[in-house]
Amino acid sequence: MSRNSEVLRVKGLFAYYDVGGLSVRAVDGVDLSVGQGEIFGLAGESGCGKTTLMRVIYRDITPPLRFLSGEVRLRVRDGEEVDLYKLDQQSLMKIRTKVISYIPQGSMSVMNPTSRIKNQFLEIFQKYGRVNKEEVLRQVKEKLQELGLSERVLNSYPHQLSGGMRQRTVISLATILNPSLVLADEPTSALDVVYQRGVVELIQKIREMYRTSFILVSHDMGLHYQATDRIAIMYAGKIVETGRTEDVFKKPLHPYSEGLINSIPRIGGLKQLEGLAGLPPNLVNPPAGCRFHPRCPYRMEKCSIEEPPVFRVGDRTVACWLLER
């Protein structure tokens, strides 16, 4: 992908949790990049570090989380990039919500229950200076209309809306200032299947209309297949495979991806699936060499000794010794 169309580039990111004198290696050397107008999926199971990775990219670092090293380069405007970790607090505040926006997990449950939706929109604008209320509301109504959401939402309180409606409101709030990149952590996991689809459609619509990029974090592989263009699979603090979503699903290259995808039941599919053996590893003391080797059906000697580098296969990357050729 050409440099010009990249919105985010993460290099060598390391961030650990300090708990009881030990270090939990939640983000242990992550590289990735997201293009403009791309919906990028970050997949992985519980404890793999994907939520932490989102926080680190957004620079939401509070103890016990500690940033060790790495770069998070964000494109602020044409031709200009900044490393979020080299900014001072003020510049960082300016960028948040305007250029990069973050929707944490479960955010639809934490909207202020005593404040009408329209006030929550106003608050966002007010953070950036004095505002003309009517002007702001007009802009907001226009945007909601473009997105196919009803104006009635503005005068409602959060509890008056259904789960799906609330989540779509949260997404609208996060994108109202037209950021280039939105980080959405499990945007649909609390929703029923039918609502889920509505949320995905909204995200795709925003992408089409404003060329906004998204990073979608989810443990739901089905969601990734439906919603994302490219996908990165995370295991034990590292990214083990990336590539175009369709390619990865059709032919996963990393044994973990393969195991993960094959353990998903399909309607009309096999009724005899196995799933993966073993348990996800301890991030304080991860296995030597390749972190997946204790559970890998294809493991070789080398795998328990040396960590595999990232191999490139066309426009895909895989961190597995099987690819060494």
């Binding site: 039918v194 689809r197 443990h219 592989m221 439906q226 699903f249 993960l260 309607i267 348990l279």
Partner: protein
């Protein structure tokens, strides 16, 4: 006794009142549900979105919530005609639960083994300590767990392990029926198959029937013999799982199946949009009418009964009304 049905539910209703004494509204969480599980072991799945009443139904079968009307017979006995003491003594010998959140299933301040041993002694009626330990370790073998695992508190283990412990505990009293409420929803995708395979094996080798409650149609497809689709308190379609998946009849079932995020085929068309919830519970007519693409005049006036069609599937929908009626 051997010829009694394992579970027989007739016209079960549960009404909740919301609001105050004077202006309170009633709503039927479970609205006239009937079903039978015969002597031959099977896995009966109840599928529905959150709030459809499936958990309330499960808790009534488990003797934890009292029905407003209707009957629940287990092995011929109407469990709600028993006194609380009798029910709590008799029921665990024949029906056992598996709950959704493995970490809520056991008291975090106790070792899991205390539950297992107590079940062996008080429910299975084993007097001897040695024999009790035997039974416990056999149950652990069934769920493929090493015996030391039980000697911990739930929080020291992984979700998948604790859920297996839940199942092991449920097995100890040799029940005829296990009611599992979303047992794998909180487990990682790659570990779900392991647990669902245990259910299948228990049905085939131990003759245990399951009522499997879920919102996930894919896992429902994977293990069900029969399935009932629940919407706002009632069954809208019920019958052999394969038949229903092959050719879903009720518009709601069709909507659910279409909305599943599959990993082999992308969604087609737009997601449906819809409104509020509580009003629909109280309206006359079919509860699905306001969301149904095929809604007719009759649907808004009268609520369709569950009719059994010639192919064995039951549907509650005016589209399938026999012309002579």
């Amino acid at each position: 006794m051997q010829h009694d049905n394992v579970l027989e539910i007739r016209d079960l209703v549960k009404v909740y009142k919301s609001g105050g004494i004077v202006f309170g509204k009633k709503f039927k969480a479970v609205d006239n549900v009937s079903m039978t599980l015969s002597n031959s072991p099977e896995i009966f799945t109840i599928v529905g979105e959150s709030g459809c009443g499936k958990t309330t139904l499960a808790r009534m079968v488990l003797g934890l919530i009292e029905p407003t009307s209707g009957s629940i017979r287990i092995l011929g006995r109407d469990i709600w005609k028993l006194s609380a003491g009798e029910r709590y003594r008799w029921l665990p010998k024949h029906v056992q639960p598996v709950f959704q959140n493995p970490f809520e299933s056991f008291n975090p301040l106790r070792k899991v083994s205390t539950y297992l041993i107590h079940t062996a002694k008080k429910v299975a009626g084993v007097e001897d300590d040695g024999e009790a330990a035997e039974i416990v370790s056999k149950a652990l073998e069934e769920v493929r767990l090493p015996p030391e695992v039980a000697d911990r508190t739930a929080f020291e283990l992984s979700g998948g392990q604790v859920q297996r412990l839940s199942i092991a505990r449920a097995l100890i009293s040799r029940p005829r029926l296990i009611v599992a409420d979303e047992p794998v929803s909180m487990i990682d995708a790659s570990l779900r198959m392991g647990i669902l395979n245990i259910f299948k094996r228990l049905k085939e080798e131990r003759g245990i029937s399951f009522v499997y409650i879920t919102h996930d149609l894919a896992t429902a497809y994977y293990i069900s013999d029969r399935i009932a689709v629940m919407y706002k308190g009632s069954f809208v379609e019920a019958g052999e799982a394969d038949a229903i998946f092959r050719e879903p009849l009720h518009p709601y079932t069709q909507l659910l199946i279409e909305s599943i995020p599959r990993i082999d085929k992308k969604w087609v068309g737009k997601a449906p949009v819809y409104t509020t919830d509580i009003e629909a519970y109280l309206a006359a007519g079919c509860k699905f009418a306001d969301r149904c693409p095929f809604a007719m005049e009759k649907c808004r006036r009268e609520s369709p009964p569950l009719i059994r069609l010639s192919n064995g599937v039951s549907v509650a929908c005016w589209l399938y009304e026999k012309p002579s009626e």
